[in-house]
Symmetry: C2
């Protein structure tokens, strides 16, 4: 174990994530991160030499944990008949807080300008897309990989798109009652339709 160093970098990244989520990248500064982690600017820079290093590390940490969570959700359902439905339900439940959604929207915006971030985000999506493909194929082996791949991509797009209607981003007057059940049903139906 490397207790001291790990503790330090962990608290720096936690502070950085909080600042990014609460204030956005435009207002993200090393001084704020240091203050939030209760240390001096100079000391923070002993661990991460530049602002870019902090952002890179924070990105890696967040995506790794989100990927772990999402894939676990999808795989946990196992072979049950309603595996797909309960996995989708779990993913939707994870979106509830809106905090993660806020972080991801920031990262999407950054990805438009930073190829490294774009690649990391892409790898993250590919990760749970793959898990979803497995799930689809297990439920409907006749689909074939190509069709299952496209449909999984549509499901990912729909689920990610739904985060945009979360409370944090909009008062969402879109008719919301029962939307989650409808989403689950839509994805299950999407999976089962006759192949293209």
């Amino acid at each position: 174990v490397l207790p001291k160093g790990r503790e330090r970098t962990e608290s720096i990244l936690a502070a950085a994530t909080a600042v990014l989520v609460e204030e956005g990248y435009a207002a993200f500064s090393l001084r704020k991160v240091a203050a939030r982690a209760d240390m001096r600017l100079g000391n923070l820079q002993y661990y991460y030499r530049t602002k870019a290093d902090v952002v890179r590390a924070l990105l890696a940490r967040s995506l790794a944990s989100a990927a772990r969570a999402a894939e676990a959700r999808l795989l946990a359902a196992g072979d049950a008949r309603d595996a797909l439905a309960s996995a989708v339900r779990a993913v939707l439940a994870d979106q509830e807080t809106g905090e993660g959604a806020r972080l991801f929207v920031e990262l999407w915006a950054l990805a438009g300008r930073d190829p490294e971030i774009a690649a990391a985000l892409q790898a993250y999506h590919a990760g749970w897309w793959r898990a979803l493909v497995h799930l689809l194929l297990r439920a409907h082996p006749g689909l074939g990989r190509a069709v299952a791949g496209r449909r999984a991509a549509l499901a990912v797009a729909m689920l990610e798109g739904l985060t945009l209607f979360r409370p944090a981003h909009a008062p969402r007057r879109l008719p919301l009652t029962g939307l989650e059940d409808e989403a689950v049903a839509a994805i299950v139906a999407l999976a089962g339709r006759q192949g293209t």
Copy 2:
């Protein structure tokens, strides 16, 4: 007509949009906007007193034009049997450039922190969601408003989510061939499924 003033504000907002799309909100500054619009900072501020005023105006301009385009797409299809399919196809075609997508991702990120922007964005989504509901009900009158509303919301989420896989944001290794056709088919099928 107010030729001079309009010309000026128009070129300011065009410059501001370009800067926001190319550099992101974090790097968005009045000096850059002024330089791009080929005028002095002081003169720009004669038209918009503060940075917030520029952002507000640019938001209004962009959303109004995007809303006009999207609703036109959805309504142009008229009563034809394949109205829904061709409307969805048109919306997907509009996404092709990625430029608009970049702008919207920036706005989503800002919406997380600015209620005014969140409200404007929400109104925009509500606009084309409404058009989509009409289209769904015309194609399948038996659905009922509630179900049609939920399904239109899912379609909006899917279509918005798909913008995230556009070239500008990711090298997109997700299996893309035929994805658009699959999306059209999925939304048509979503519309026609037996009501919940």
